[in-house]
Symmetry: D2
Subunit: 148 residues, 4 copies
């Protein structure tokens, strides 16, 4: 029994594997406008991995980020309980952190799961959703509104 999401540390070898999957995901990026490839690999609580890439649009504002792509894909297959997400780009000297929109999209599925921004050499930092989006609101807060 693994308990609720986030209740136990993800083993380093699993994290390393997830990072490799995020790099694979990046190869499918459709980004003719930015030429900025991003990949994401999402690990569900029951150890399934979903890979997403950024998908841009001629109307820039309508594109989809890699992280949101991976999460929406998982949801479309019936998964809503997530353990970790790794994010890859071609940046050599900077970790690729998720945009604010993706942080909120992650938050929808809980505040306390793991996020692994990486550099192109695979080095990474470990964070969790609530560190990236402090003082957030989520599904619970809208319920509070509805019952006020």
């Amino acid at each position: 029994d693994q308990g609720p999401p986030g209740s136990s540390e993800t083993p380093q070898e699993v994290v390393d594997q997830l990072i490799r999957r995020s790099m694979e995901a990046k190869t499918h990026a459709y980004c003719p406008y930015s030429n900025f490839r991003v990949g994401a690999a999402l690990l569900t609580h029951d150890d399934k991995v979903f890979k997403g890439c950024n998908v841009e649009n001629a109307c820039y504002n309508l594109g989809v980020c890699a992280e949101r792509n991976a999460i929406a894909k998982a949801v479309s297959e019936g998964y809503r309980s997530f353990r970790a997400i790794a994010i890859a780009s071609d940046l050599n000297d900077q970790f690729i952190y998720p945009c604010g929109g993706c942080r909120q999209f992650m938050r929808e599925f809980g505040p306390s799961w793991e996020v692994y921004p990486t550099k192109s050499d695979g080095s990474h930092v470990k964070m969790d959703v609530s560190q990236l989006l402090p003082m957030s609101f989520g599904p619970e807060d809208l319920h509070q509104h509805a019952t006020q």
Copy 2:
């Protein structure tokens, strides 16, 4: 040889099957705010099907539609050449047409592939992307801008 995307009519039995897949997709919708379930099933030119559902967010504006989900998912697996998409909802008396954002997202991958809005009983209409988004701009038009 099937020729370029959209060059031949999709057989009715394939369309019917695609519509059934869009209804299956709908069952995974995450829509606690609207309670409006939508599913989409996307057929690639080489006969692979990708299913998407709507994934809402406590910040309404950050959600992902079913159609965009299905397309982004296909792109994340390396597919960019599409033949048809079917869209399902729980509306009994109305066909579920894609929103303008999804029409633009479809348009990115060509103006002339098939769209099948349906009612909950599976009845459908056949349209193509350019009928739903006339006078559109796409990737080619931005290139024109860049070289002006």
Copy 3:
């Protein structure tokens, strides 16, 4: 008495003036990523004009189009009844048509008001929202869902 929105033709001099305002609006565009400036000028039913420009973001997907900017601005000042919108860009040889997302955003405030895509020399075409977004759904359709 002017009747309901869209009930009478907008005089050509008013349209020409609106187009000039959309060109002015363009000068404030914040578009360091695309370098594609867009301006919009929105005419309310009681003859007030709101000017919008595109506002891009380092996360491309989170930017705001000129048309949505102008409409949101009008709503923020208490206006929801629109007669016409003009759209300007730096394209010399093409009319600048709104993206699908903006067409849907326009549609929220009625299907039958005027849209004027222009070229950089001020030449224009006249369309209405429903021509740009046929078979659309709007606020009424969600009500239908709610009462089904």
Copy 4:
């Protein structure tokens, strides 16, 4: 001379006034789907105030938040240097924090300006953009990418 944005503390009376303006802004909210009214008031470095409200859409995902509305409005009038933003909702017992998308939209115009989430009675907390969006990326980081 006021120095660069954020270089000096905003006086309490100015903050209180800004909060009142955010409450006024809320009255124009167009939110037939969520019934969750939000207002924002944005103070530029040269003491101009822009008010925004949320503007929802039948396609939920295409709506505009109050904060993004206020900022896009200011940009459309030629302002890009911001000192503070106040945010108001009808929540009595919770401060209304910005969504992740709006945090990223704020970040585009600098990491260190003030954000004032409020409760319906006008009580507030003081934060800055970087506290709400730690480890963010902005315009500078994309430049870094381009020159790599």
